[in-house]
């Protein structure tokens, strides 16, 4: 178990007590909501900028390049400069486009990714809402983004956008099944959809180790399906630039384009964070059986480091895919899901249910 000094609950409880002592309870709750909102908004923006920077650096490593290195130390300010550029760019109104839906679409996409962040357990005692159906909630709201993508493709009044949006719709609806089933297999182990319960159940070992081969298999399927769900290479058919120029966001410019761009990266973070929470123990440290000394050393690493370390490891895996693999074709993509991943996943879930029934896990 992680050391108590690293727990954020003392900090959050202190703020809560101080606010309640100084003002009316309803005002205290409102203030807390505002604080949480501001913290999340700034975290969201910083994370998005950092992920774009990280992607450019990882991509550069894969391609024998250096990557951004002019603006700021090691090019760290490059994405901020890019953001300023996007903020100042003209928002081009599209003739004959459905203006209301055209303007609405980016907000749906970004709101969906923003909502999913609320339920993630970032560290010990650092979680905005601990819903009793946390995992289900994250899956539900993160799949709302496809509505925004479909609206964007439809309202742009462009053929490329429409083809891109339709591809995206087919893809996300198919792969949602595999994502759900592979997460369900771990839920069978824990017996709870609450994210804090799932993390707590991995105190003595992560599910990817405790769950034998079926859990590892579920993780691989989750990684593939999760990558497909966030429209990233090799499944980036919705914005395949060699076929559809930029897919569903072809007609968007300036900050509206940036919203799509940012939401894509935050979705990647959410997919990686859910994988880290469900398969790799969330903020739980790495423990090996009865090695007391080793386990004690691991406990000294703060829980927030564990969570972000695992998440960024999975993000690196996803980026690695993108920069080495060619893109699939739409029929191959759907074949992969409906003919291979889904049946295998169903069998895997049954095997896991059997393992749980017989008590064959640690």
């Amino acid at each position: 178990m992680i050391l108590e000094i690293y727990s954020f609950s003392s900090l959050t409880e202190a703020i809560d007590t101080a606010l309640n002592n100084s003002m009316a309870p309803w005002l205290a709750t409102l203030t807390e909501l505002v604080i949480i909102g501001i913290v999340f908004l700034s975290f969201y923006a910083l994370l998005g900028l950092f992920l774009v920077y990280l992607e450019r650096k990882v991509c550069a490593v894969m391609q024998n390049r250096i990557g951004p290195n002019r603006v700021g130390k090691w090019g760290l300010l490059q994405t901020i400069a890019d953001l300023i550029k996007l903020l100042m760019k003209e928002l081009i109104p599209i003739k004959n486009a459905d203006q209301f839906l055209f303007n609405l679409a980016p907000y749906i996409v970004i709101a969906a990714s923003f909502m999913a962040m609320a339920a993630l357990p970032f560290a010990k005692g650092l979680q905005a809402i601990d819903l009793n159906v946390g995992l289900f909630y994250i899956m539900a709201v993160s799949s709302l983004g496809v509505v925004g993508i479909l609206i964007a493709g439809w309202s742009s009044n462009s053929k490329y956008s429409l083809v891109g949006a339709m591809r995206s719709g087919a893809q996300i609806i198919s792969y949602e099944l595999s994502v759900g089933l592979s997460l369900l297999s771990i839920v069978i182990f824990t017996g709870s959809l609450q994210l804090s319960d799932i993390v707590a159940s991995q105190a003595d070992g992560w599910w990817i180790f405790k769950g034998h081969i079926p859990a590892f298999f579920a993780f691989v399927i989750y990684l593939v399906a999760g990558t497909a769900e966030i429209n990233r290479g090799p499944f980036d058919l919705a914005e395949a630039e060699s076929e559809l120029t930029a897919g569903f966001h072809t007609e968007y410019s300036g900050i509206k384009f940036a919203f799509f761009f940012l939401a894509e990266y935050i979705n990647m973070f959410i997919v990686a964070a859910v994988a880290a929470t469900v398969f790799f123990g969330g903020w739980m440290p790495f423990h090996i059986g009865n090695w007391q000394g080793f386990n004690a050393v691991m406990d000294y690493i703060p829980s927030i480091v564990w969570f972000f370390g695992k998440t960024f490891f999975i993000i690196y895996l996803i980026m690695w895919f993108k920069w080495t693999f060619p893109r699939l074709r739409i029929d191959q993509l759907l074949t992969l899901e409906w003919k291979y991943l889904l049946p295998l996943n169903l069998i895997n879930t049954v095997i896991i249910a059997f393992i749980v029934l017989m008590g064959w896990y640690f």
Partner: protein, 376 residues
């Protein structure tokens, strides 16, 4: 006449869902406009529209001397600049009966093969991009840079060299020329397996290219598809073999032939051609005579005797034919190029019909089109 040719009839309908790929589109490698009719994701027909980069090179040739024409030929297939130059040079030399020094022939062959490898580098890079594998671009260009450095050192330009002229070369090559070629061959032999690891062996890549865009040998012959695209269908059309020019009849090399005619075979032909070109380079450097002579004796202004002249060479994309009608003046009466890309491109409708739109991009990538060569 082949059956495919008969069925290459396009019936337009007012209800058709048309997407214009190009003239500004990331996958057409230039200003080519493809009018693609879609049924969902499936391609119903493809109509290529050309002429966006037509510069009237053939007409301009009628007002230039033969040495000036060299500079225009660079601008056709800019990735095979040396081969284009050599086509006109050989034509003038054969017409006047000039024998160029042996050393020049070897240097020309070396430049041809270097240029062929450089062109295939760029094709490989762009083909990977067409399929969504963006990293190939940097691997290909990294190795292409080594060849461009050799060019840079010898004649100061990297893409459009205009180095081969009637009678020989513009000037002598750099003293390091032989050493650099050997170094490059040694370097690239080590790097070529990376290409295999990164793209050729990739299961997604193979699924995307195998059995896609199958061109039968009959179609290849009927459409006049030459070069690696034709040889992928088993059509033996290497001008270096069937009508040797320069020094090629004294060099040992194989004509790479594959028989399936799909995108993957066209890909493999080019990959194997890079190895063949490296073998050729080693032989050329080995046999190249010492010395400093780089040109035969030529008058400043060449006048071809009255008559018709014809020359064919093998560029990186296929057979380039030059046809000249001379009326005995210092510039040609009429000049005509038969460019490989023009014939290769018009198979797009036959190959892409009934497949997905992503396949169409893959097929146009596997044909290795250079648009300025089509329009001229």
């Amino acid at each position: 006449m082949s059956k495919d040719v008969v069925t290459n009839i396009i019936l337009r309908d007012d209800e058709d869902y048309i997407i214009n790929m190009g003239p500004q589109h990331p996958s057409t490698h230039g200003v080519l406009r493809l009018e693609v009719c879609l049924n969902g994701e499936t391609v119903k027909y493809v109509v290529p529209h050309i002429g966006y980069i037509h510069r009237g090179i053939e007409k301009m040739c009628e007002y230039d001397t033969y040495k000036q024409i060299i500079h225009l030929t660079d601008r056709m297939d800019y990735l095979s600049a040396h081969m284009n130059n050599e086509a006109v040079s050989l034509l003038v030399e054969n017409a006047l009966g000039i024998e160029v020094p042996e050393r020049v022939k070897y240097i020309r062959a070396a430049l041809n093969e270097l240029n062929r490898i450089a062109s295939h580098h760029l094709w490989w890079s762009a083909f990977g991009m067409d399929l969504g594998a963006l990293t190939t671009f940097f691997y290909g260009l990294r190795d292409r840079e080594k060849i461009l450095d050799i060019f840079d050192e010898s004649f100061g330009s990297r893409l459009l060299h205009s180095f081969v002229t009637p009678g020989g070369l513009m000037h002598d090559v750099h003293p390091n020329f032989r050493k650099n070629i050997l170094e490059f061959v040694k370097y690239f032999r080590k790097k070529l397996p990376e290409y295999k690891k990164l793209l050729t062996d990739n299961i997604i890549f193979q699924n995307r290219t195998k059995g896609i865009g199958v061109m039968s040998k009959e179609t290849a012959i009927a459409f006049g598809v030459t070069g690696p695209s034709g040889r992928g269908s088993g059509f033996s059309c290497d001008v270096r073999k069937i009508a040797p020019y320069g020094i090629y009849d004294q060099l040992e090399f194989n004509e790479v032939l594959y028989s399936n005619g799909d995108s993957f075979d066209r890909y493999m032909v080019r990959m194997d051609e890079m190895v063949e070109s490296m073998n050729l380079l080693e032989q050329i450097v080995d046999k190249m005579p010492e010395g400093t002579e780089f040109t035969a004796k030529m008058k400043p202004i060449v006048k071809l005797p009255e008559g018709e002249y014809f020359q064919r060479v093998e560029t990186a994309r296929g057979e380039l034919d030059v046809f000249v009608v001379s009326d005995g003046k210092k510039h040609p009466y009429r000049m005509r190029f038969r460019s490989p890309n023009f014939s290769n491109m018009f198979t797009l409708n036959i190959l892409g019909r009934g497949l997905k739109i992503a396949d169409l991009v893959a097929i146009s990538g596997s044909l290795d089109l250079v648009i300025p060569d089509i329009d001229r």
